[in-house]
């Protein structure tokens, strides 16, 4: 029983990382109705920035906050410089642009920082851990909850959050009441970049830092976001946690590590066939 509990809780910890990245995907989806396939590579790149800052001698939390700020600016800049030009194009051409960004970040990271695997420190003191969860696992869950809380407060109680929601729901009317819709989109991308960087810095101590560390994580995050409902941040978190636990338990008890990705995906797709809008997603009814 102890082992089972341990596996489930460890799944919760990885799940909270998927949840953070899923939150980043939801941010961009809410703002622009696109799923950013390059989010994972973006988070990986942010983590390398954090690593460089720490390498330059900054303490962990300074590097952590600076990285979040840099990622925010970088995300907003990418939206303003590149994505803005494709906003009116077909979805598939934006997907290709995302693939382009993905390969650019992946290749740049390899070129700038090398392909060798680097270790990345965990900021949480070892004493925090107990018999069931390590300090890092607990810390990861905590950080994810803080991020979620901040987002909820931001969107529900600040004028800027309200303006962002308005801009995504009805851009034309928002523009008429004086909301700078273009900047709101950039803000959404910036937030996604910032949240993604947190996810990257949280998973790096577990999977180690290398240019390809995020490819699997992104897939789970994508699945998590869809499972929970792509237009619902709370759903994304729920989906992330579910996927994390599911993955860990399947890997440990049912089919082994070799096929766990496959089976996890099959189950998620199965759920989606039954509930196409995701667990918490709003069902859209189209008028004829």
């Amino acid at each position: 029983m102890d082992a089972f509990l341990h596996q489930a809780l460890a799944g919760l910890a990885t799940g909270s990382i998927y949840a953070s990245l899923a939150l980043a995907l939801v941010m961009i989806y809410q703002a622009t109705h696109l799923v950013n396939f390059s989010q994972g590579e973006f988070a990986m790149f942010s983590t390398y920035i954090a690593w460089s800052l720490m390498h330059a001698g900054f303490p962990y939390w300074v590097a952590f906050l600076t990285t979040i700020a840099i990622s925010f600016v970088l995300g907003a800049a990418i939206q303003q410089i590149i994505i803005r030009r494709f906003q009116d194009g077909s979805v598939l051409s934006v997907v290709v642009v995302f693939v382009g960004l993905l390969t650019i970040f992946n290749s740049l990271a390899g070129w700038l920082f090398g392909y060798s695997i680097k270790s990345f420190p965990s900021p949480f003191p070892r004493e925090l851990g107990n018999t069931y969860m390590s300090a890092h696992e607990l810390g990861t869950i905590g950080v994810m909850l803080v991020v979620l809380l901040l987002l909820v407060v931001f969107f529900r109680y600040t004028p800027l959050g309200l303006a962002m929601r308005a801009a995504s729901q009805n851009p034309t009317s928002s523009r008429l009441v004086g909301i700078r819709v273009g900047w709101m989109l950039a803000l959404g991308w910036g937030l996604a970049g910032a949240i993604g960087s947190v996810a990257g810095m949280m998973i790096a101590p577990v999977v180690f830092l290398d240019p390809n560390m995020m490819s699997g994580v992104l897939l789970y995050a994508f699945a998590a976001a869809l499972l929970g409902g792509i237009d619902n941040p709370l759903g994304a978190v729920l989906g992330g946690l579910l996927v994390g636990v599911l993955e860990n338990l399947l890997g440990a008890y049912v089919i082994g590590n070799e096929l766990k990705l496959t089976v996890a995906l099959a189950i998620i797709v199965g759920v989606l066939v039954v509930r196409p809008a995701g667990l918490l997603g709003a069902v859209h009814v189209s008028r004829v």
């Binding site: 494709f86 598939l92 051409s93 382009g100 390969t103 290749s107 070799e258």
Partner: protein, 356 residues
């Protein structure tokens, strides 16, 4: 932006004029112009055919092999374009059908001694069956959800191929090595040249099939489902059947491409069919031009040669250059190369008209 990969493109507009724009040209242009254009098209097509036949005798074996792969990708892209371009169903997992086609061919040749030419249609049939079956659950999924489901297929298949249950057939991680076929009937062609013509034969069949399919009742239904799903249903189109059928046909083309690719590369292994292949195929149809037959050829040229060019530009970060290429192409030609070429030929035609 120059090099041998652009050679076939110069004569392409003539060919694509037949494939894509024949109907619109006939409506908008005076009759004598049509005749002149037809003459030009025939001439262009003949020159293009001559060029295609001369190619393997002027290039090195490796370059011939590269062009064979271009044609293999072109067939796969035609298939994906039927599904994504014409039917509007996104697939991020077509590499899976390519892999199934490749493995069917390899297993038949290696384990059962089936002649290589027979494996190609068998691979197509198997993939059509699998694709048709996969089309059923996919019916409930649209847009992003379908993207995830197909992506899952693309991720899952290489892992399945590696797994222990199938190792007796697939050879596990090691894969299967195939022997390159020689030219039959004592033709004086080396194996690379023979495979080039062998693949060319299938490309032609695929092109003709696609063109006829799209003009047929089935093709109209497929396009109607993309543009007006509800209206199509109201008109009595069996959307479920045709969507699954589009999946099946699309998978068949891609499977044939996979079989041809396996014979050309002489090797199949799970890791050659990673998700990256699926993404490359999607990139290929979008860059080449969605819902356009010639786009499949442009896209195939892109995914075969642009990585090499990127590698030549920067050894250190070739994929960064590749990414820049992708973004630039989308910026300059939002509707793909075929769209760009079409817009350019329209502009020339207008200038010619006003000059008269």
């Amino acid at each position: 932006m120059s090099g041998e990969e652009h050679m076939p493109q110069k004569t392409e507009p003539a060919v694509l004029a037949v494939a894509d724009a024949a109907t619109s040209a006939q409506m908008s242009v005076p009759h004598n112009r049509v005749r002149a254009d037809l003459l030009g098209v025939t001439f262009g097509a003949a020159a293009f055919a001559g060029l295609l036949c001369a190619l393997p005798f002027t290039l090195s074996n490796y370059q011939v092999f590269q062009f064979t792969l271009v044609m293999v990708y072109a067939i796969a892209l035609l298939g994906l374009n039927i599904l994504t371009g014409y039917n509007g169903q996104i697939s991020l997992g077509h590499g899976a059908f390519y892999a199934i086609g490749a493995y069917v061919a390899a297993i038949l040749m290696d384990r059962y001694g089936v002649p290589y030419w027979l494996t190609v249609p068998v691979a197509g049939a198997v993939c059509m069956f699998v694709g048709f079956l996969f089309g059923f659950p996919a019916l409930r999924l649209e847009g992003l959800y379908l993207a995830l489901a197909t992506f899952a297929l693309g991720v899952a298949l290489p892992q399945l191929l590696k797994s222990n249950f199938l190792e007796a057939w697939t050879g596990g991680v090691q894969g299967i090595v195939i022997i390159k076929p020689d030219a039959p009937y004592g033709l004086k062609l080396n194996p690379d040249q023979w495979l080039y013509f062998f693949t060319l034969f299938f490309v032609l069949i695929a092109l003709i099939l696609t063109r006829n399919l799209l003009r047929s009742r089935i093709g109209l239904a497929i396009v109607a489902i993309r543009d007006q799903p509800i209206a199509a249903k109201a008109m009595g189109v069996n959307t479920a059947l045709y969507k699954s059928l589009a999946f099946g046909i699309s998978a068949m083309f891609t499977g044939v491409a996979g079989a041809l690719g396996a014979i050309a590369v002489q090797f199949v292994a799970p890791d050659s069919f990673s998700v990256f292949l699926s993404i490359s195929l999607l990139v290929g149809i979008v860059i080449g031009g969605l819902a356009s037959i010639s786009g499949a050829i442009y896209g195939a040229i892109f995914i075969q040669f642009i990585p090499n060019i990127a590698d030549k530009i920067s050894n250190a970060a070739p994929w960064a250059i590749y990414g820049v290429f992708l973004i630039l192409f989308m910026l300059v030609m939002p509707s793909g190369i075929a769209g760009g070429v079409r817009a350019m030929s329209h502009r020339f035609a207008r200038r010619r008209n006003t000059a008269k």
